[in-house]
Symmetry: C2
Subunit: 314 residues, 2 copies
Amino acid sequence: MSQLTHTYPNDRVTLREVGLRDGLQMVKQWPKTSEKRSWLEAEYRAGVRHFEIGSFLPAARFPQFADLPDLIETVADLDNAHSAALALNERGAENALQTKVNEIVCVVSATEEHSQANMRRSREDAVALIGTVAAMQRREAPEKVINAGLSMAFGCSIAGTVEQSEVLKLAEACLDAGADVIGIADTVGYAGPKQVGGMCAAMERLCGDRPFAIHLHDTRGMGIANAAAALDNGARIIDASLGGLGGCPFAPGATGNVVFEDIVFLCETMGFATGIDIDALKNVRHIVENAMPEEPFFGDITKVGAPNNMTWRA
Amino acid sequence: MSQLTHTYPNDRVTLREVGLRDGLQMVKQWPKTSEKRSWLEAEYRAGVRHFEIGSFLPAARFPQFADLPDLIETVADLDNAHSAALALNERGAENALQTKVNEIVCVVSATEEHSQANMRRSREDAVALIGTVAAMQRREAPEKVINAGLSMAFGCSIAGTVEQSEVLKLAEACLDAGADVIGIADTVGYAGPKQVGGMCAAMERLCGDRPFAIHLHDTRGMGIANAAAALDNGARIIDASLGGLGGCPFAPGATGNVVFEDIVFLCETMGFATGIDIDALKNVRHIVENAMPEEPFFGDITKVGAPNNMTWRA
């Protein structure tokens, strides 16, 4: 079995906890390293295996990610757990390759306007960077996974409408450049389930056996419906964050990522076994709520509990 | 065109605002009649045409519905607006038939256990009541619509699992007894989108040209996903309440009905024109929030606004 199939088996759904990265990107206060470790370890015990835990960025500007190397070690010590982190430039990728991080995530904006405004580079340059990073990875750490995340893939706060064909073209360019996994992100929560379903069906045709991930924000309340449509149309990797932590700089006032706990419940109702214990996630929430008392936590299932007729945990 | 086709055209989606009934059923404080009127009229101006506005129940026990006759008059004065109210026994139905209410809603529990616990009668007796009410209606007010709402249709807080076949059998019995419309309710928010989609597909086969409605609670965060699945599988009438007002006595601590504003956005993203202006709903929220300052209001779309690429309101 290849490393990729081991990391993302295509016969089951993988849920990626991105709260330690996307959930901390915008916050003014963040958990101490020991609290992040408690979060990771408790969520691991609840059954979660995939964690996106930070960005390789200058600690002076992004102090919330200064302990990324420590967290990579924490995940590496957990049997069968998988860590991912963002690398937004060559320097970041070089740093990532020196660590035990399992997956390096590069980001490409789906629109030229957003790419220039957010990253001060063209989409072409962003795709070329993936090529550079993939070449370094093949040389230095062939066991690591390269993930290309396409932001603003369902609509852009600057450019407006984003055509599906444009996203597919970029996805293909990223695969050609050496990406192992493509992530499709509704960065500003523009999508509805019909659009997400259509995109995932097209991505499945494009990717064949290669995995693709879907990253949803619940900005306009469509997160769970979009995830259901993604699952219905072949997506098998879904990003989410505990309590829906995380906002988006391009969607002021917005609720954040789709809620991890609710996604677990959704999957189970749809017949996708997650191996994750919803009751145990309740305790993880307590840990993170205590560590970030000023952050709002979203999500319903851990408040109310699973229905009394659910037997899926047995 | 028959009255039924006029009320519920099958070539478009109808959204029923149930906040004035289901949203007020459990609350300790409720809007004054003048505030309810402002709510109704503002929501009508936003494009909403279907309102469930109360229950024909003894005013001494349910003072929040004491002004139901006034509200029926309010809706009757609005061009092309449609009012509905619950009648839980023969006396309630007799009262309803004396008014201009357009639709009388009777309720049947999907499980015998809940029927006995909640209504102190068998499901058979509840279906028989529909026959009695329908006979009265045909005699006294043939233009009124009879709606049979099946509660606990996706799982029951007492009996647990509810088989789809059992719900279909009850739905058929209600149609045979004279109901014009069947409502299928996830009273305690047990359902996921797969179950809702399967139920709606089966209901469409059962009902043929006759309309059926879906009533969803967002107790476990699945409300919008369930609505999307319902629309994908033939449902064309969806209940919702402004801000998600309303809880459920059988799901303590739960969030309420699926949020009306978010359902409007969902429909529009799926290509179902609602004729409802989301920005105008924001103002309706202000009216109701002021009238019920202690109630939590849910929903995201009116906070954030529609995406900048949405042209559907034009």
